[in-house]
Each structure stands twice: as structure tokens, then as C-alpha cells.
Symmetry: C2
């Protein structure tokens, strides 16, 4: 299903009437090859989870060439600097994440075959980082002065157990933000405006254990875990706001004829609504406790099974209304370029953090065709990839405005 908008039609026609803007769009097309080169270069600097510092330093140098204000690496490891506007518009952050899912020592050397680039992390989020650079180049080369400030941010800890730590730190330290764009691999029309929140738990059951025959009647950690999973599997969750649960892995026991002393599973809880997520979390944790109790009671050994639930992931949920101005800005930016917006379903990305804080935020597709994300077979096809940065540029300029040419469309927050 393609999304369209009737809001900001006139404003985007005016934006496209500006010669500077048309030149900038043309520049992005011409810059497609250089952008792919940047993308390969940055991907070949390893950035394992919790060890993004080499890529951060490398990227900081790249940003330094554009003379950003207050360019810095913060305590969490994020790198960012400001491209100042004329001072009267909103402040918008455009971000891509430095980290990959690949451990240190992964071969991240790119191979190009038939024009397609193969490298772990080439799309996710090598693409986003390269898009930041091509956007900066076109703004500089075409001397575009914006009304609002644009913060260029390369952040840490987007993936897995990184748990959005980069974004959490950024928004703790920087409160004057009016809008946010996260660039992730995806089609140039991709427009994610709701953030899937998640809570992740490692659940561990412990009991006394014993011999399956001689000690029969002793409570079992595996039996307790089974009771918990069976209860969880019958949980009712709302379809809207979409809310989900999953026991993703399980392990336990030592041998077939030993009553298990330990068993554990990993539980993933998600929702686009923080209220629904909190309710699900409370229900799930209560069920897990009850299952441990029930196993003990079924054996006339109340309290014989202990259970611990360790929070190992916590990503805030958040949704924005369909008629949020930021969504319509991004829809129009695609529409004027003839790009169809076919994908809007909620995801868990850097944008979760600002959305959860009430700050208008989007995740937009970086363009090009990529796939195999989070696998060693990840690839990126740069053919016509420039549509991604073109749409993002227009959305960005629509938000912050162009000095003496187009008024900012994104409101300034108080």
C-alpha cells in the first residue's frame, strides 16, 4: 500500500523552485559513486558492539572536513557537530549509527562483484554514514544556508545489547532538539514514524535437582520453565497498538535422568505503545513468578524453585499520530521526487529514543538495494542509490527551511 499526503504540497513545490535546491539534488546524483566509495571506506573500519571507537575517530575526521561547529566525541562515544543555520529555525538531528552486529576480528573487507558491494555492515549502517557525508557535501558545494541548525550525528550502540545507549546519552545531554532523522538501509521511500519498544529478559530457574527416579517428587527447574513458557504462550496482547512476546532461546538440565537444577530462557517483549509494553512486562514477570511457585507447590515443596529475571534490553516504545507534521514532510519529500512510500511499519531504531521523549522523529531509508543485514553475506547495490539522499535532503530542508527561500515546516518545541 502506498502512502500519500495532501499536506505541504505548495510548500514543497516552492522548495523545488529554488535553483540551489535543484542543483543540490543534481549534485547528489553525480555524487552517487563517491558516496559508495565513502560507504566502503567506513565499512572497512571495524565497529564491533561496544567498540566503535576506531570507526568513530575515522568518521570524526571525515566530518571535520566540513567545518562543523562544536564537533566532538561525547563520553558515550557518539561523534557529532552542528551545521549552523541562520538562527531562526528548528534544530534537527540527522543520525546514522557507527556500530555493527559483528564481533571484533570479522573480515569487513569489501568485495565488489558485478557492481554489487559485499561486506558485513555495508548496508547497516555503512549506508547511513555515507548518506550523512553526501548530504554535507551537497549542502557545502551548493552553499545552502538553512534557517534551523542541523546536527550531524554518528552514534554508538544501536544494535542488540547496545540498547540505544548512544541515543539515550545524546538526548540526556542535548535537550534543544526539534526533530530527528535516523538513516538506515532501506528503500528511498521507507518512512518509519513509530518506534517498537522492547524489554528483554534472561530468565533463570534454579532448584535442588536429583536423580530422576530416586528423587522423583523433587521440583525441576526445567518443569518450572515449561510451566512459565506455556503460560506466556497463552498471553493475550493487543493487535493495535501492536504488542508481541517471544521466548527465543531455551537451555537447561545436565542429563536425561537428572532432575534439572537449572533452566533458562530469553524473553523478548515488544510494543509500539509504552503503556502496552509496561502492562505486558508486568503480566509476563508475574506469570514467570507464578510458574516457579506452581512447580514447587505441585511437588509439595513450596519455594523450592527460585527464579531470577535479568533485564538485558530496554528500548523505549513510542508512536506518533499519522497526521504528525514530520510524517507529512517526509511523505511530500518522496512524492515530489516520484518516490513511492510503501513501508511504514514500526521498527526499533535510534528514532525510538526521541519518539519516546515526544520529539518528532523518523527513520528514513538510505536508498540503494541492500540485504543480508546482520549476516556475513550482507550486500549493497548502489544503482540509483541517490534517491535515498535526495529524499532525505528535501525532508531535511523542509523541516529546517532554507534562508530567504523556504520557511521551516517543523515547529520549534518549547
Amino acid at each position: 500500500m502506498t502512502s500519500t499526503s495532501k499536506v505541504f504540497t505548495k510548500e514543497f513545490e516552492q522548495l523545488l523552485d529554488l535553483q540551489q535546491v535543484r542543483d543540490a539534488l543534481y549534485f547528489l546524483k553525480q555524487d552517487n559513486e563517491q558516496t559508495t566509495k565513502d560507504q566502503i571506506e567506513v565499512t572497512e573500519v571495524e565497529a564491533p558492539p561496544f567498540n566503535e571507537e576506531n570507526r568513530a575517530a575515522f568518521f570524526k575526521e571525515k566530518l571535520a572536513a566540513f567545518g562543523l561547529d562544536d564537533l566532538k566525541t561525547d563520553e558515550e562515544g557518539n561523534v557529532y557537530g552542528i551545521r549552523k543555520g541562520s538562527g531562526s529555525g528548528p534544530t534537527v538531528v540527522i543520525a546514522a549509527h557507527l556500530d555493527t552486529v559483528f564481533p571484533a576480528g570479522t573480515n569487513v573487507k569489501a568485495k565488489v562483484e558485478d557492481g554489487i558491494v559485499y561486506a558485513p555492515g555495508i548496508g547497516d549502517d555503512g549506508r547511513g554514514l555515507a548518506v550523512l557525508l553526501t548530504l554535507l557535501r551537497t549542502l557545502e558545494e551548493n552553499k545552502i544556508e538553512t534557517e534551523g541548525d542541523i546536527v550531524f550525528l554518528a552514534d554508538v550502540g544501536e544494535e542488540g545489547l547496545g540498547d540505544l545507549r548512544g541515543m539515550k546519552a545524546y538526548f540526556r545531554d542535548n535537550t534543544y532538539v526539534d526533530g530527528f532523522i535516523s538513516v538506515e538501509p532501506g528503500a528511498p521511500g521507507d518512512l518509519i514514524y513509530c518506534g517498537v519498544g522492547s524489554k528483554r529478559y534472561n530468565v533463570t530457574f534454579k532448584g535442588k535437582g536429583g536423580h530422576s527416579f530416586g528423587d522423583f517428587g523433587t521440583s525441576s527447574a526445567i518443569h518450572a520453565a515449561g510451566r512459565a513458557i506455556a503460560a506466556l504462550a497463552d498471553l493475550t496482547v493487543p493487535e493495535d497498538p501492536k504488542t508481541t512476546y517471544n521466548v527465543g532461546t531455551i537451555h537447561g538440565g545436565t542429563s536425561i535422568n537428572t532432575i534439572a537444577q537449572h533452566a533458562g530462557f530469553q524473553l523478548d517483549l515488544r510494543s509500539v505503545s509504552s503503556e502496552a509494553l509496561a502492562e505486558l512486562e508486568a503480566n509476563a514477570l508475574a506469570m514467570i513468578e507464578e510458574a516457579a511457585q506452581a512447580e514447587g507447590e505441585a511437588r509439595q515443596q513450596p519455594g523450592s524453585i527460585s527464579v531470577t529475571t535479568e533485564l538485558v534490553g530496554d528500548r523505549p516504545a513510542g508512536s506518533q499520530p499519522k497526521d504528525a507534521p514530520i510524517r507529512h514532510i517526509a511523505l511530500q519529500a518522496a512524492e515530489v521526487l516520484g518516490i513511492e512510500v510503501e513501508r511504514e511499519e514500526p521498527l526499533s531504531t535510534d528514532a525510538n529514543v526521541p519518539i519516546s521523549l515526544g520529539i518528532p522523529a523518523l527513520t528514513l531509508g538510505g536508498g540503494g538495494n541492500s540485504g543480508g543485514h546482520h549476516t556475513l553475506e550482507e550486500f549493497f547495490d548502489p544503482t540509483d542509490a541517490f534517491y535515498g539522499p535526495q529524499r532525505i535532503l528535501l525532508a531535511l530542508l523542509g523541516m529546517v527551511g532554507v534562508k530567504d527561500g523556504a520557511a521551516p515546516l517543523l515547529p520549534i518545541r518549547n
Copy 2:
């Protein structure tokens, strides 16, 4: 609790009145050191599961020195020969198992510290094999002629997945057996007369899998396994005949945010009654099937979870009445020696097979103090270990009778 008997009191007094028998008992005491030497020697010949042939060949040579009739290695790998009686008594098999639980390459060299022998397998069933040799020596040295035949048997496949294959083969090939004694490590009073039967299953659930959020609503192999375990954990089983179940190990899934494509667990079912075991097995397998179905149906995807149950262990159950003559023979044999019988609970040993076939059978403790069975720290303390073979000798002679001295107490079967 100590078990005593008022049956065969007079018969055992008569047996002990025989000078030959008293000499044989004294010989066993004097042979304690040689028995420990034999025990170390046989333990140091590796006998991994399904690869007992080296130890079998070694032990066959040992047996050959006693001039047994029809000494042979059968197709399964069992070694046995007959010490013929005068022809008018019952045939009794006395057995110890060749196999250990230790894989090939395990260091089975014995260490002796403070008189205690350390070696994997030294007790289980190095002790049983050594007891067979000391019994043969004392029968020969003291020229004891029995009425019934005694078969000395060193069998394969007693442990774990060996699944009593040695015994199953022996009783398939040899039908004229009236009684059976298995010698296992244990106190000289140990007297096991009920065999715990078991059925073991590897249970595997499979489904389509998917992403925890994007594909929510897809059935999960782990959720299905959890439903099965929760149902099993609430199974009602009889206390008498003792019947038990256990999910001993569980594994499944690939990552926290992936709906599991596979999950599996190991299920151990046991009973001293083959009827109760069969009923438990049927119930458990039905519950597992239902759980797979239930997970599919809960997701409106009937049939989306497949389940396979692979039988990986099958040991026959069997019990004998408390007043079985064979039990009273072994009780009296202990009683006249002043040995207390404190342990009679059912086990799963070689004796399961004859018990399940209706052949009177016992498992008796080999004497000495041993522990750490099935671990690399296994040990055996030979102090006063001769009480084991003394009690076994008296039980054996009670069963088969002594020519011109004591009538056989064990009936001949038809």
C-alpha cells in the same frame, strides 16, 4: 530400615555346617587382596560403551583358567561359560558388566592412595568382574560341587544407551535359566529385587520460525515444547508401583528476537511395573502431540508445529513379590553372616531383563566401599570388601545346592 527373613533359616544353618562352605568363606577373606588386584587389572583395560571387546577378550582369558564349559563370546559381545553341577539342580547365572560409561581415551590407570584405589570404572563394574573371579577361585580351591549349573557371565551394554543389550541378547539365546544374580558395586547387604524399567525419548519440535515482532503470530517450537513440559509436569503417576517422569534436558531457538524453528527435550519415563510404564508412555506421548497441536491452533495455524519422538532407551520393568524365594535366600545369606540388608529399592540393572521375563533375579552388592560412580573421581576402598563375595557365595550355593550337603532352594522352572 533393615530387612530380615524367617524363611530358609534351618537350610542356611545346614549350609554353614558344611566344612567346605566354611573353608570357602575363609578363602574369600584371604583372597581379598588378590581380588583387589584383579579388580585393578580389569579396570585398566578400557571398556567404552559399545566397545567392550578388549576387556571382553582379557576377561575371557581369566575365565579360561577355571576350565568352564562352553566358554565363548557371543555375537553381542558377552563372554560366558558354565561351571557344571551334578545335573539335578537349577541353573543360575551370575553376571557382572564389562562396559563403563567412559569414552575411549579416558585415563583408566589406577592410583592407590592410603589404600584407596582411584580409577574410572573401578567400582562400576570392576568390582563385579573381580567378584566373579574370586568366587570361581574359592569354588575351585575348595572343590565345591554344586547340584545346579552356574553360568559365569561378563556382559556388555549395561550402561546408558547400551540399553541392556548384552542381557537382552543373552536371554534371547539362553532360555533354560532358573535364577540370576547381577553383581554391582554396593554394600554387601544390598539386595535389589525389583527392576526399574525405563523408556527414554528425544523429543523434537519444528516450526517455520520468523522475527519476534514482524512475524508475531507464527507458532513457536519453544512455545510448543513449553506447553508439552507444563502438561507433563502435571501428570499423575502411581506411587506404588513407583512410576516417574523427568524432562532432563532442553535446548532450542537461535536468538532472543527469533521465533524458534526448533526445540527439543529429553524425556525419561520409569516404573517398576511394565503396565504402569506403558500407560505413562502412552499418556506422555499423547500429551506431547497435543501440545504441538495446541501451539498451532492457538496461532490459528493448525499443523504448523511438527513433533518427533525418538525412542533412545528401552529397559524392561519388572517386580517380584516380597516373599519370592530368591529374595529370602539372599536375606538369609546376609543374616547368617551378620550383614544387615538396608537397601532394597528398585534399580535399573542387568537384572531388569530376567525379572521382566519372569525369571527370579537379584542385584547384589559386591562389597567394599565405593563411590563417585560415573565420574572420573570414582574410587574403591577394599577394606573388608570380602563380605560382598561371602554373602554372594552363600546366596549362590543356597540357590543351586551343594552336592551331598544342601538341597537347592531355588525351584527349577519349566
